[in-house]
């Protein structure tokens, strides 16, 4: 008996209608369109507006005047801004190195199985979820010269000579904030390194052990090179964070004492919200964006090269 659908199977498939084809072609746009639109409105559009504003002199009164590159010329001669950029660079170098080293050490320590492993991971991650304001306030008390816990501890240990005015002395203020920033973010970078360590093929380190490689040699020649991608990610995230640091400094020192903890974002804040120079603040933010972009590109290139070398 012939199948009922035989004639249909023998014919060529019917062409979908124009509307269907059009829908199929445009369907991805419908799915990703709203997301893209939101992304554009909240990420790209502000950057574009910032770029446009950087070419104007505008204040909170809503008056905007096109000034071309005049703001960039002013910025070039703005000693306060470049001083804050130098502070930012010092802050970035110190925090990136500190976070990377500490997080790597912690990740290596917490990667091996032992009782309480998860508890320690949680403890080290805890500062990440505490707000900057709370952290800044608590550490501000701890660093206080006379009643602060740190100097009290040094005095109790008979190390009173080491007690310093940690946030009130320009020689120590920036480095005290560096310390707090490292303390806050190390747990975050540790998690990234842990993810990397758990993705490493065990055969390589086991084979190296069989060949008689020491623990240091396994770390130096196998683990670290294989982690380079994660190191790159950590460097980029830490660098971006270091150049956009604001809240911790605002809470702990407000940029003082004597401007010793002024960073680029503090300058942008000052220009925009205290001096109401939105155009000039946008110029400062644009230059900062360029600096961050250049640093990120360099780091990505270096990481990529390291990856390719390993491959």
């Amino acid at each position: 008996m012939a199948r009922a659908d035989a004639p249909r199977l023998s014919t060529a498939p019917a062409q979908p209608s124009l509307a269907t084809r059009l829908f199929e072609r445009c369907e991805p746009v419908f799915w990703i369109g709203p997301g893209l639109l939101l992304f554009f409105v909240f990420v790209h559009l502000p950057v574009l507006l910032q770029l446009a504003l950087s070419l104007t002199s505008s204040g909170l009164d809503g008056r905007i005047a096109f000034v071309g590159l005049a703001n960039f010329k002013t910025l070039w001669a703005d000693a306060d801004y470049w001083f804050s950029i130098v502070n930012n660079i010092q802050f970035a170098i110190a925090t990136v190195i500190g976070k990377l080293l500490l997080s790597l050490i912690l990740a290596l320590a917490l990667n091996s199985a032992f009782t309480g492993q998860n508890l320690f991971r949680t403890i080290f991650f805890l500062p990440v979820i505490i707000s900057f304001v709370a952290i800044g306030t608590i550490w501000g008390f701890m660093f206080q010269f006379e009643f602060g816990a740190i100097n009290q501890l040094l005095n109790r240990l008979g190390l009173g000579a080491l007690a310093q005015d940690w946030l009130g002395d320009p020689r120590f203020a920036l480095w005290s904030i560096v310390f707090v920033d490292i303390w806050k973010w190390t747990g975050f970078h540790m998690v990234i390194y842990l993810a990397g360590l758990q993705a490493l093929p065990r055969e390589l380190t086991e084979a190296a052990s069989v060949d008689g490689a020491s623990a240091w040699q396994r770390l130096r020649y196998i683990t670290l090179p294989l982690l380079s991608r994660y190191t790159g990610t950590n460097i980029i995230i830490a660098t971006l964070g270091a150049f956009s640091v604001f809240d911790l400094i605002y809470v702990m020192t407000q940029g003082g004492p004597f401007g010793s903890t002024q960073v680029a974002m503090m300058q942008v804040y000052l220009q925009a919200f205290q001096f109401h120079r939105l155009g000039y603040a946008s110029t400062q933010a644009t230059v900062l964006l360029a600096i961050i972009a250049i640093v990120s590109i360099v780091v990505m290139r270096l990481t990529k090269r390291a990856d390719e070398g390993e491959a």
């Binding site: 002199s57 009130g168 003082g256 004597f258």
Partner: protein, 434 residues
């Protein structure tokens, strides 16, 4: 259409009517002349914490007396006031009255937002001259003081001085004697929230009042209009006088990590004897009642030779202005409300309910607290905060420069030169003091 009255709305309504009827404002407002205007009046003011209940009561009484008028009061936090008001004005929101921070009055007077009030606010002799002067720009009255005024005198702990056989200093040398005796006992002469850069300029305001022969505000206007310079000797000398406090360790380096609560703690625990602080400290001390403190208040002793007298910097808690666009019956209505808010009866309640210090109305007695009474006497000749005239960039230079100067990191000449360079740059960019 039926109107549904719930138990809650009935109780609230009854309470409001009873409150309005029983309050002194209610009694006053009910006898007020009827107003031709009908509709809504819009007030934008400063957010107070705790809320200014007296203000709310006066407004409620006004509404009760004029049932056809509804008052809509919006409050913005002080630190975002300018930004929010700018947005509101740009959006065309109606505005009939502004209750401003004193330092913002100039901005809205010179840009045409506010209209002059000369001859519209009754007898201005009811206000303390120092408080009223804040509202006057270029000879015209743009705002009237509201509530109380106060500032930064020098507070001291009499108990600490008595314990060490010392008395209130009358000269800079007296401070040095006090420093030596207290240092031996492990007590600081001055405490100061030195981490908070916003509070450093008050030291300069205090010394500049003396180096200018009590012409601090006039000299400030001269400098900002190019008839003087920040590098002039009176400015440099005023800075130097403050920096000397650091050099002589009357203010020690340890204050640079103190914020306001920590400085208050240092003072109220008897670990520092003097404190140049806002007079809100009186209420703080009276609320906490610290055992180690017998609070007293004084003016900075005379630090210069010549005719100048000691003054302390300050200003009214708020200033009320009326937008230039408000006209006709609407203006008559809002002026009636302004009269209610600035009457002697209202002022008495406002100062009492908000723990204010020196009433802006001369005939209002103010608090019986001895320290407040003394402060009221000292307030005669209070000089308005100079940064109410400065552009914010200059304020910043002084904030950072004062902090650095007291720490010995910058000289008075360097701070003055930086202020002048900043002003020159601003003028080059189009800034003009009005």
């Amino acid at each position: 259409m039926t109107m549904r009255i719930t138990r809650r709305s009935y109780l609230l309504g009854s309470a409001a009517l009873a409150g309005a009827a029983l309050s002194p404002f209610g009694a006053r407002a009910q006898s007020a002349t009827p107003l031709a205007y009908k509709g809504e009046l819009s007030i934008v003011g400063l957010q107070r914490n705790p809320p200014d209940k007296a203000f709310e009561a006066i407004v409620a009484a006004f509404e009760a007396a004029h049932p056809d008028i509804k008052v809509k009061a919006t409050q913005y936090p002080s630190e975002r006031f300018v930004a929010l008001l700018t947005a509101s004005l740009a959006a065309g929101e109606p505005l009939d009255m502004l209750v401003l921070n004193g330092q913002d009055l100039r901005r809205y007077a010179v840009d045409g937002t506010l209209g002059p009030l000369d001859g519209l606010v009754g007898d201005t002799a009811r206000f303390a001259p120092a408080a009223l002067e804040t509202g006057r720009i270029d000879g015209k009255l743009w705002g009237v003081p509201y509530g109380w005024y106060g500032g930064f005198p020098v507070f001291y702990n009499k108990a600490v001085l008595d314990k060490h056989g010392l008395s209130e200093p009358k000269s800079y040398d007296d401070f040095l004697v006090i420093r030596d005796k207290l240092k031996a006992a492990g007590i600081k002469t001055f405490t100061h929230p030195g981490k908070n850069i916003y509070l450093w300029p008050v030291w300069f305001f205090t010394t500049f009042a003396q180096t200018t022969g009590n012409r601090a505000n006039e000299r400030t206007v001269e400098i900002l209009t190019g008839k003087g310079k920040f590098t002039d000797p009176d400015v440099v000398q005023a800075l130097d006088l403050v920096f000397q406090f650091g050099k002589d360790e009357l203010i020690t380096r340890s204050v640079f990590s103190l914020d306001t609560p920590q400085a208050v703690a240092e003072f109220s625990s008897g670990r520092a004897a003097f404190f140049m602080q806002h007079d809100g400290l009186i209420q703080q001390i009276f609320t906490a009642k610290p055992e180690a403190v017998d609070l007293d208040v004084m003016l900075m002793p005379k630090l210069v030779t010549g005719e100048a007298k000691s003054q302390f910097p300050g200003g009214p808690a708020a200033v009320i202005g009326i937008p230039a666009k408000v006209e006709g019956d609407r203006k008559a209505a809002i002026l009636a409300l302004l009269a209610d808010l600035t009457s002697d009866a209202a002022n008495t309640t406002i100062v009492r309910d908000n723990n204010g210090t020196v009433p802006v109305n001369l005939s209002v007695k103010g608090s019986d607290i001895p320290q407040v009474s003394k402060l009221i006497q000292l307030s005669d000749g209070l000089n308005t905060y100079l940064d109410w005239n400065w552009p914010p960039e200059i304020t910043r230079v002084f904030q950072e420069g004062m902090q650095a100067g007291v720490a010995g990191q910058m000289s008075a000449e360097a701070v003055a030169a930086k202020a002048q360079a900043t002003l020159d740059r601003l003028v080059g960019e189009g800034y003009a003091f009005k």
